[in-house]
Symmetry: C2
Subunit: 106 residues, 2 copies
């Protein structure tokens, strides 16, 4: 099994919107081959990262998703928010980076 | 549902031992009330943290575990390794810190 975690640093003013986007997520990822499940973790301490933890059959399934139409579909509204901020000359309301893992044990 | 992640920074020379300890873990946690499951995630990039992700019914179940005999039992060998390093005047072979989360969505 293969695990990808997207660590998302969210500006204070964007947290409500961020949570709304995920609670109404497109579910585009759910039909991607090799996708198993995901959890969106909300930090209990303000200022810490949100974590989007996704489980995959293998690394290729994850990589294929990052290059897929479903990836764009699933991030459409967030990408639009980022574009709006850029047009206004504002800093991005969030930034994110993936780290990838194998499962050592359960 | 409540999620605790223990972020573990491991010195290079201790990684093999660390992985051995987890792959032969005591399973003391498995019988703790409110414990649901855990994954030990191994970073694919050298130098990044290992993650011990544990799922709990609620925060109290997690907190009770951190104060339990099972917690000591499950960490016995690691604590002994740390004590040996300290006696030798060496730096700890690893350090760890918990962050806690709620599940925003699946």
């Amino acid at each position: 099994m293969f695990v990808a975690i997207n660590y998302i640093t969210c500006k204070e003013h964007y947290r409500e919107r961020f949570e709304y986007l995920f609670s109404t997520r497109a579910k585009a990822i759910d039909t991607v081959p090799g996708f198993q499940s995901m959890n969106v973790l909300k930090p209990q301490k303000d200022g810490e990262d949100y974590l989007v933890v996704s489980y995959w059959e293998n690394e290729d399934a994850f990589k294929n998703w990052t290059r897929s139409a479903e990836f764009l579909e699933g991030h459409k509204r967030a990408f639009a928010d980022m574009a709006v901020a850029k047009e206004k000359g504002e800093e991005p309301p969030m930034h994110s980076s993936f780290k990838v893992y194998s499962v050592l044990t359960n």
